[in-house]
Amino acid sequence: MTETTKPASAAVPGFDASVAGKRAECDGGGPIQGTRYAGREEFAGTLTGDFVDHGDPPWRWYLLGDLVKKPESYTDAVVWCESGSVFLVDEPDRVPGKNRL
């Protein structure tokens, strides 16, 4: 990870070689800051293998780069994606970070 990709808050970083370089989609989004609403965003790209685990129980987030699909005007080159919202293009039933099915 570089300085520009570091997660905004303290977390335990790691590297998952089993997903590094794999194409993935992220059904993303989150709270709309300053409002009580939520919004959806979709991304597709390549997982770098970098992840962070937030807190206990660990909430795992993967770094998605080489974005081929992203919201129009999205200016960042990468996005952090929660593992449960990541879908591997070639292994759609596999949850990154869990045992292989």
Binding site: A8, P31, Q33, R36, Y37, D76, E82, F87
Partner: protein, 366 residues
């Protein structure tokens, strides 16, 4: 004795009378719907842990041991960007100019206080984590994830006797959460207010029912009448998730001006657009959404930049109660919101109409 079509597995799960879930940001609506035999889920996405704790205590003082839920919005993706000042510096001049044009054309007043958006929590996971801790500590009967997969918190929630439901917009999201052990799925269709799914409610509900392995599936999106409830149950749903239905209720703390706009609105008066937040939202049409649909308008920016642009308009309109400018998240079922009724009456009307619908379909009892 004929089977009561409104007594569903969701009612069994929580020991309630009617499979109608009121999703609301208003505690008074929570209490009214709960005490009328329904189930309420309080949206707490914007509240601090202390506020959430206080809200839960307030509700429990008024509903006793009856079950209720709390909804949080868990982030599913987070950009690696920095603080507020850095984000504001990245907004293109073209977009700032267009926003300024809208303000001048409609004489949009300035917000009266500090913009809520400027109480910046940052785009990270820490706030969600702290909010979840409160729900675990308070052992709320139902934790709903309004967006984002709550799989990581399931064991901790179940250990405390808390059920967890996830709101989804795609069948694959439901499959993922079901495989993780979630207790129920809220299948949200395109008709919904706010962050809708991409599929119609009539399409997503039966798809999710087919893979739910007997778990309750709650139909969301466009539900505002008893006929909608009956239709959802016919699709295999175990209940309905209703939001717009309660916005104009007597108990709702929504501004009276907005209530009147909701009552006057039809489905075509809602816009599905990225122009408010950068993420798709269904809201009542207003000058901001109308201007950003024009061919000459620049493409809305991604979140959070577009929200930084729209925030002064939204808050200025609300703080100054400008009826011509105000908007609210509303689903396409708004067509059937035609008066301000007490929540109990809304519940009675929906239940009566659902039962009448079933009687008409089956020929009723001799």
């Amino acid at each position: 004795m004929p089977k009561n079509p409104l007594h569903t597995p969701f009612c069994e799960m929580f020991g309630i009378e009617y499979p109608i879930i009121a999703f609301t940001h208003c505690k008074d609506v929570v209490v009214a719907v709960t005490n009328a035999g329904g189930f309420s889920v309080l949206g707490e996405a914007m509240h601090t842990p202390d506020e959430i704790s206080a809200d839960i205590k307030w509700i429990r003082d008024r509903i006793g041991s009856k079950p209720f839920g709390v909804d949080l919005v868990l982030p599913a993706s987070v950009p690696p960007s920095g603080g507020l000042a850095e984000l504001q510096s990245k907004i293109p001049d073209t977009h700032k100019a267009y926003a300024k044009m809208v303000h001048e054309k409609y004489d949009v007043p300035a917000p009266k206080g500090k913009e809520a958006l400027h109480q910046w929590g940052g785009l990270n996971q820490e706030m969600a984590r702290k909010q979840l801790e409160v729900l675990l500590e308070e052992r709320v009967p139902l934790l709903c994830s309004g967006l984002g997969n709550p799989a990581f918190i399931l064991d901790a929630a179940h250990a405390r006797g808390i059920k967890v439901f996830g709101l989804i917009g795609k069948t694959r999201q439901a499959k993922r959460e079901i495989e993780a052990g979630i207790d129920g799925i809220i299948a949200q269709g395109f008709d919904a207010a706010g962050h809708t799914g991409e599929m119609g409610t009539f399409s997503i509900v039966p798809e999710v029912v087919a893979i739910a392995e007997g778990r309750p599936v709650i139909a969301a999106g466009g539900v505002t009448t008893g006929r909608h409830l009956a239709a959802a149950l016919c699709l295999g749903a175990a209940g309905v998730w209703t939001g717009t239905l309660w916005l104009a209720s007597r108990e709702s703390d929504v501004d009276m001006i907005v209530k009147e706009k909701l009552i006057a609105a039809n489905a075509e008066d809602t816009d599905f657009s990225k122009c408010i937040s950068g993420m798709t939202m269904r809201v009542l049409k207003c000058p901001w959404t109308n201007e950003w649909k024009k061919p000459e308008a620049p493409a809305p920016l991604a979140a959070p930049y577009q929200m930084l642009l729209s925030s002064p308009y939204i808050q200025g309109a609300n703080d100054n109660r400008r009826a011509d400018l105000m908007t609210e998240a509303a689903g396409q079922g708004v067509s059937f919101i035609k008066s301000m009724k007490p929540a109990r009456q809304i519940m009675i009307d929906v239940v009566d109409e659902a039962l009448t619908t079933f009687e008409n379909l089956t020929g009723g009892e001799e």
